[in-house]
Amino acid sequence: MNLLEVANANAFYGDFQALFDVSVAVEEGETVAIIGANGAGKSTLLRVIAGLHPLRAGTLAYDGLPIQDVATHRRVLGGICLVPEGRRIFPSLSVDENLQVGAYLGRRGPWNLASVKALFPMLAKVARRSAAVLSGGEQQALAIGRALMANPRLLLLDEVSLGLAPIVVGQLYAAMPQIRAAGMTILLVEQNTNQALAAADRVYCLLEGRVTLTGSPADLARSQISAAYFGF
Amino acid sequence: MTAPGAPVAPHFRVQRATRTSRTTVVLGVALLAGLATLPAWGESSTMRLLIQFFALLAMAQMWNLLAGYGALVSIGQQAFVGIGAYGLFVFTDLAGLPVLVAIACLAAATVVIAAVTSLFAFRLRGGYFAVGTWVIAEVFRIIVTNVHELGAGTGVTVQSLVRMPAADRLALTYWLALGVGFGSILLVTLVMRSRLGLGLAAIRDSEVAASGLGVNVQLTKRIVYVIASVGCAIAGAVVYVQLLRIQPTAAFSVDWTVKMIFIVVIGGLGRIEGPIVGAIIFTFMRETLADCCPAFPSAYLVALGLLMIVIVVLAPRGLWGLLTSRWPISLVAIRRRLVSRERRS
């Protein structure tokens, strides 16, 4: 049984349809990437899974149970954690406090202040600083760390590389194996296709709200991916 | 085929009037004409009721202009009602001018006063702007209470009007109220049909986007604030042509704004028809509830307060909004439509 099953998801922004019958499945322990151009609906999909955006039609099953009507904070309780687009760290809290509030629900697991800071040593150095004065890369690490503090079963990563220098992106993705090794299931959204393909077991490509391709990176040719990404 | 560089004739024009709106104008003029004859055949109690109705309607239209169209919630409009009242006194008694001229003068004075207060008020936004306007109203009240020439705490009576025969004064006030009531509808319509109104509607939807399109957000808001203040002042003056006795606590009482808010929100925020519906309901509820429970004189306020809360949560567009969601009619033509110039052959 899949940990997450999205079936025929349809989502709208007012009259504008962002997702058309999107179906995605993620097995426990897998890392799945969703790639696609800007506006393809990738972030919308993650927000729907996290509970920040309503599904107008379709189903969402987590661990076999339907969750499309479950409130966001309850999904976190169940183990779904989103690292949102744009980081969205809390500017009036310090780095430590941001991490601590990540553990608000007190779910048990391997991730705590010590282990998160071991994963991202840069956070240990700025522990007391206000989160507002961090660099982009530090903020992204903090956002990921904050989500880990909730000890999720399903980690949703939205555009980790957005606005960051390649070297910083590399550092962040270098932490992935450790997160995976602890048993985490990861669903990540990326515009940076190379990074996504390198990190994922399987990949979905979205174009204008529809799934145009799915498979494992090893089995897919560049030309296929390109066609699915751009539509021609 | 036009030559490159030659101006292209626009294929569209902006049309606002609809058949409904044209009918409304005709009916409205007829109504006004009919109502104007009331002093000849009507009862004074009816005229007094209508004076209150039209004065409140005018004030509500002004509040609607601010909040419904401009998204500026003011709880301080009573400042200008009071200024209108005392302005009436100053220009008729102290300056000896006839009533209409006095009203014109106090309108001009209000423009200046409102412009100055906007300097303070617009330092704040949202809910804090609301309370800020209230503080400003309180400042006016306290200042007037301490000015001897304006009667200080005990207030003044507009002597020059006291001397007028009661029936004449009633008729005068009544026509002034008609003028102010219908005038306010006309004023808001004209404002919203103008470029200012278009800018205001844009600001209401998105300040940032409006500003990016070249709308001067600050200036637009201030102009609207001044217009609304002048409207309230004139309406206030008309009320006191009838009441004659001006006391600072009553003239600057927040109750004026309470009534404006109830009328607009219950009737329908952001639509010109809203305050009309609201004023009718307000008057009706006040009259019926005042009679039924004499031991509970503010019963109608509680009832209206509850109604307003229910409407804000469940039907935020007010009663007119509820009505038009079923039957989309617009009595007043504001919406702009692009209509093709081409003749149908």
């Binding site: 920040l52 409130a71 904070h73 969205r88 | 800020g132 509680v302 949560v313």
Partner: protein, 291 residues
């Protein structure tokens, strides 16, 4: 010397204003909600105390043991059953609903208790004072009020900075959506914030009721004093609110010394001056929400 006394009295009443202001500041900070019924809810607390005092025969200070929890429950329920539904992102609904509430509460109090002036009698402590010299005397009650105000502010500050609940309140105030994704139940947290707000305004309302006489229509004046304290002190800082309250108190006291008619006006004028010259307030935290 009489001016020094005026300043001292102003400082003492400033704590009270800060207490009234805290709830307003908290609900704006966490929920972007300016509660126009804030002052009237403080009056409700004072009248509640009055009712308990007359029924149970205890003093108003003792009645706080009942009044504060009752007001906190009212705050939580009010937020969850009504105010949460107005927080859809637009500016008008919360203002209109709380305004309607204010009118309803005022009318209700007027009907139940009549328009008569009331007072809460705290007994001997009201007149006992600490004489400094023959021109300055500090009332024990005023001192107690200031002490209570500062204690509550310290406690609130500790709650916000040291506890999980406090972190959640600050997180929700920074970014409501991000708060949801770390598992915070915003509807509940907003209820807690309103409960705290009404708890503090209840204490302020009762102390003010002991200090001066009050009537059903006094709510708006309290709202205005609370609001002025917040703006003078600057948003986003509890200590700013305390200092704002003290500045307001001192301004009123000095104005009142010049002439009783100028007391409240002096506060208004200082408030307007701050608006004109330093709209963010004197002690605002950088990054705090704009008014």
């Amino acid at each position: 010397m009489v001016w020094v006394n005026a300043v001292i009295q102003g400082i003492l009443v400033g704590g009270l204003y800060a207490l009234l202001a805290t709830g307003l500041s908290l609900s704006f900070g966490v929920m972007r909600l300016v509660n126009l019924a804030h002052g009237d809810l403080g009056m409700l607390a004072a009248y509640l105390s009055l009712a308990i005092v007359s029924v149970a025969g205890i003093g108003p200070l003792e009645s706080l043991v009942v009044v504060v929890p009752v007001m906190m429950v009212i705050g939580y329920l009010l937020q969850r059953s009504l105010l949460n539904f107005t927080l859809r992102g637009e500016v008008l609904p919360p203002l209109l609903v709380t305004f309607g509430l204010a009118v309803i509460i005022q009318s209700g109090l007027l009907t139940v208790f009549s328009a008569d002036s009331q007072g809460l009698n705290a007994g001997a402590i009201e007149t006992a004072s600490l004489g400094i010299n023959d021109q300055i005397a500090i009332g024990w009650l005023s001192l107690l009020t200031l002490a209570v105000a500062v204690t509550i502010l310290v406690a609130l500050q500790l709650l916000l900075s040291r506890t999980g609940l406090g972190r959640a309140l600050r997180a929700a105030s920074d970014d409501g959506e991000a708060a949801r994704i770390v598992g915070i139940n915003n509807r509940h947290i907003y209820g807690v914030a309103m409960a705290i707000a009404l708890g503090t305004v209840a204490i302020g309302g009762v102390f003010l009721g002991i200090r001066t006489t009050f009537g059903p229509a006094d709510g708006p004046a309290r709202l205005i004093f609370a609001f002025e304290s917040v703006i003078i002190g600057g948003l986003g800082s509890l200590w700013g609110t305390l200092l704002g309250g003290i500045i307001l108190g001192v301004s009123q006291s000095i104005g009142g010394q010049i002439s009783p008619a100028y007391q409240v006006l002096a506060g208004h004028l200082v408030f307007l001056a701050i608006l004109l010259l330093r709209p963010t307030g004197l002690f605002s935290r950088p990054g705090a929400r704009e008014a």
